[in-house]
Amino acid sequence: MNYKMEINNVNLFYDKFQALKDVTIPIAEKQITAFIGPSGCGKSTLLKSLNRMNDLIEGCLIKGKMLLDGEDIYGGMNVDILRKRVGMVFQKPNPFSMSIYDNIAYGPRTHGIRSKAALDEIVEKSLKNAAIWNETKDRLKKSALGMSGGQQQRLCIARALSVSPEVILMDEPTSALDPISTGKIEELMSELKKEYTVIIVTHNMQQATRISDTTAFFLLGEMVEHNVTREIFSNPKEKRTEDYITGRFG
């Protein structure tokens, strides 16, 4: 199997507090990897360190290696390039305060694409890939803030796709959405994994079983178990995993 990203013996500290303890997970290419676990277990922290959004947090210290195609992302890699290659969709939809078109064109423009024709094409393709083209094609010049929450989140996914990332990180992307919007986004994710490597943090275990290929269970900063999703949920090797998925705590 090909590993797109590798997390090797990562320890992460917020000042003195250790948020991740010796975590090792290989991330398979063009698959969906789910991180599950109770609040405060470190799964979001780990996700955010995969495109170095944790750099924004003061006192955050990372030891160990995180590799993208074998290259250390905390080594000499340019952060902006890393984030172009490893995109992110946030928990709360965060479209920019501008038109739908400009929201999608923002990323390509950032990376130097100026030609109107090229931008038009990227906008259309990104919106189509995020399954929101039909709803937006007649209102591209309208403000993105006028859309519903579910549409906004799919727009944010389209925006993440606009810079042709290789990996997409999703931080509880449906926790602020209604069941119908959630369904649409889950459907979309299964489409996305044909082209992209997806890592998703979710509180919703049914969601993890529905969409992910492998699942990693976190508890108190430790990665307890990482396995094929079906195995984790039907036949967990660790007692702590079993307790969590059967609802005994968390």
Binding site: D80, R83, S97, Y106
Partner: protein
């Protein structure tokens, strides 16, 4: 029984407090209403006597000959306000962006009090600075002009004076933008600079626009500093170095010795100024409403 009387006493107290708040609110409303009544009651008859068209569009202001045209002053106010915007707005907004998103904490602690001090300096002190520093400087640059005072000097002066308004209001608008705009931009591989200017600043645009309008309000109403550096000839300025008289300076310079129709014409000038401010305030609240709707 006892309980009932307690409840009654509580109700009474609440009613009393309500009346007190209402009275406090009324005082400010009454003040505005009185100003309106006074200024319109005294100004409108004069405007009627002079003729609205002659008053607003008349090119000549000659109180000795009973000619009262305030067109030069209207244009003068618009010119210096536009000048203040050209100078003050870019500097103010960039400064606000710097303070909100680029400034190191230590420098911020130093800068913030300075900006607040800038807002607190009495305008007559600004005028003094303008007269002593700005006017000679401009005269030095353009020695063929009779004096350094005029549109340029007044614009620079006002541009500096509106800075604290623009900086403070814009800065809080920029700081109020949720971090997720900034993070969303970073996550696309944008630099800090691009994220601030192209994702955060557009999200703050209604607040930034509001700061500009407040600044315009301050610039158009400013008097003392302008009188000292504007030259004050009641003519339509023909260049940025030309002498200029604003609506405010027209009133403040002649009110002391005016009588009769002259005095009323000055109050009429104040009516025009008042209408200007009214328009500015209305557009300010319209923008605030528009910003909330988003």
């Amino acid at each position: 029984m006892n309980n009932a009387s307690n409840v009654n006493r509580g109700k009474f107290r609440e009613a009393a407090v309500k009346v007190m708040f209402l009275a406090a609110a009324c005082i400010s409303i009454i003040a505005v209403a009185l100003i309106c009544v006074f200024i319109f009651a005294n100004g409108l008859p004069a405007i009627k006597e002079i003729g609205l068209k002659e008053f607003l569009l008349g090119q000549k202001w000659k109180p000795n000959a009973d000619i009262y045209g305030i067109f030069p002053m209207i244009i003068g106010s618009l010119y210096v306000t536009a000048g203040a915007i050209v100078i003050g707005v870019p500097v103010g907004i960039l400064m606000a962006v710097f303070m909100a998103r680029f400034c190191p904490q230590k420098l911020y602690k130093l800068l913030k009090p300075f900006v607040e001090l800038l807002a607190g300096i009495p305008s007559v002190v600004y005028g003094f600075l303008g007269l002593q520093l700005l006017v000679p400087l401009i005269h030095g640059l353009f020695p063929e002009q009779p004096s350094g005072s005029g549109v340029l000097a007044a614009s620079i002066m006002l541009g500096i004076m509106i800075l604290p308004t623009i900086i403070n209001v814009s800065e809080s608008a920029i700081k109020a933008v949720p971090d997720n705009y900034y993070e969303g931009s970073l996550a696309l591989g944008a630099t800090h600079e691009r994220s601030v200017f192209f994702a955060v600043l557009p999200a703050a645009k209604s607040g930034v626009l509001a700061s500009v309008i407040l600044g315009v309000g301050r610039a158009i109403g400013e008097t003392m500093a302008v009188v000292w550096v504007a030259g004050n000839a009641p003519i339509v300025p023909d260049s940025i170095l030309s002498s200029v008289r604003t609506l405010t300076s027209n009133v403040v310079m002649e009110m002391g010795y005016s009588t009769g129709l002259h005095r009323e014409a000055l109050i009429g000038t104040a009516v025009v100024l008042f209408v200007f401010i009214l328009i500015i305030n209305l557009s300010f609240s319209a923008i605030k409403r528009g910003g909330k709707k988003q």
